[in-house]
Subunit: 226 residues, 2 copies
Amino acid sequence: MHKLYLMTRSEENYIKTIFHLGRKGTQEVATNAIAELMETKPSSVTDMIKKLSEKNLVNYKRYQGVSLTSLGTKTALGIIRKHRLWEVFLVEKLDFSWDEVHEVAEQLEHIKSDKLIDSLDRLLAFPKFDPHGDPIPDKNGGFKERDRDLLSEVPINTVGVCVGVKDSSATFLKFLDKNGIALGNQISVKEREEFDGSLNIEIDGRNLQISHVIAANLYIKTNDEI
Amino acid sequence: MHKLYLMTRSEENYIKTIFHLGRKGTQEVATNAIAELMETKPSSVTDMIKKLSEKNLVNYKRYQGVSLTSLGTKTALGIIRKHRLWEVFLVEKLDFSWDEVHEVAEQLEHIKSDKLIDSLDRLLAFPKFDPHGDPIPDKNGGFKERDRDLLSEVPINTVGVCVGVKDSSATFLKFLDKNGIALGNQISVKEREEFDGSLNIEIDGRNLQISHVIAANLYIKTNDEI
DNA sequence: ATTAAAATTTAGGCAAATCTAAAAATTTGT
DNA sequence: ACAAATTTTTAGATTTGCCTAAATTTTAAT
C-alpha cells in the first residue's frame, strides 16, 4: 500500500531532507534545521510536516520535531536510490564530472517509473556506490555504509584507499580535482602537524600537504580490516 | 535572450501542445482544441494563453486562437528534441519497447540541462529519428520531415520501407508488434480491396492483410525517389 | 523559579494553475 | 440577415506551497 507514486516533488524533497538530517543526530529533526537546509521558512515546514504526518510518512508531535515513519524511510531510500543511480549514469555514460552531477540528479530523482530505474540500475551493472562514494540503496531500500574513516582521524602511517567525500559541494570537489585527489587513490598518512592539524600524505606516489579541513572531508578505507 | 529556462512544466506542456496542433491545420489553434488534447477546461487554456502571450511565446488576439511566436516555436522544438532523444535512449539503452516510452519521456522532457541533453545526443550517436519514426530536432531546432507516404495512399505495387507511424498510441503499437510489423520492414503493396480499403501487403517476405485504418497510420519510404 | 531567548506554530495572504458558472463574441443555418 | 448554436472569455472559488507577522511553547540563563 505505497502511495509513494502520489507524492509531489515538494513532498519528496522534504522527506529526503528529513532523512538526511535524521542520519546525523539520532534524535528528532528540528523544524528550523529543515527550513535552513531547504532554504525556506519554518512556518512552511510546519505546514508540510502536517501534511506528511497525515500521509503517515512522518511522526509528528507539535513542538517536538519530526522523524520518518518506516513508510517515510522507505520513500526516502527510494528517492536516494534514484538520485545516486542517476549520478552514476551521468558520470559513467555522459562524462559528467563529479562536481556537475548533483544539480541534474536533483531533477532526475523525481521521475516516476520503476521500470526506468531498474533498467538504469542494470545498464550501470548494479553499482554499489555513487561518484562521491555514497552507498546506493538496492531495490528494496537495503544498503550498508562502507567501512571507512575520515582521513583526519586515522593514526599516522595509516595506509588506505580514498573511497568517499563528506562534503560533496562543487567547490570542494573542484579543489580535489585541482590537487589530483580522486576516489580510488592510494593514500598513506605520513605526518600530522599538531599546530593546525594539517597532514602530510602520500597520494598515488606524490607527496601532498593538506589542511585539517580537507582531511576532515575525505574518507579512506584502511587495509587493516579483520 | 531565452528565458526558456524559467518556464514551468505546465507552460512547456501548453507550448508543446500548441506546436503539435499547429502542425496539422496551418491556421491558428483553437482554445477548445488545446483544452481537449490536454484534458483541461477551455477557461484554463485562456488563462495560460494570456500568460504565454505576455512572455512572447504565442501570438494571441481574443477569440482569434493562438499561434507560436518564433521564440515559442524554438521552445517547442527544444522540448520535442528532449522528448524524442529520451525515447531513443529508453529503447536503445534500457530495452523499453516503443509502446512504453511515451509516458516516461513526458516526464524526462522537462529536465533542464543543456549539457545533459547534448551528452545524451552524443551517447546515442546523434539519432535523426525517434522509435516511432518522428524526426529529432538538432541542437538549433533544425529538422526535416522525412519524405514518406501513408501506406493507405500509395499505388498498388509500390515497394518501400516502413519508416514511421502516424498514431503512436500504445494500443496501435502493440497491435503492430503482434502482427510482426516494425520500422525497417520491407513492404510491398500487392492489392487494394475497393470495398473496405483494406490492403494485401508483403512484409519482410510474409503476406498480410491489413485494414484501411492500419494502413492509414503507417508511413513508408518508397524507393522511387529522384 | 522566573524570565528572557529561541524555536515552533497559528493566522491570514499571495501566486500559480486549475475549476464552474455566467457573460460575451463569433460562427452557422436557414 | 439574424437568431441559434458554438466557442471563448470573464468572474469568482479552490488547492498547493509558500510567505509575513503575531502568538504560543519550549529551552536556557540567572
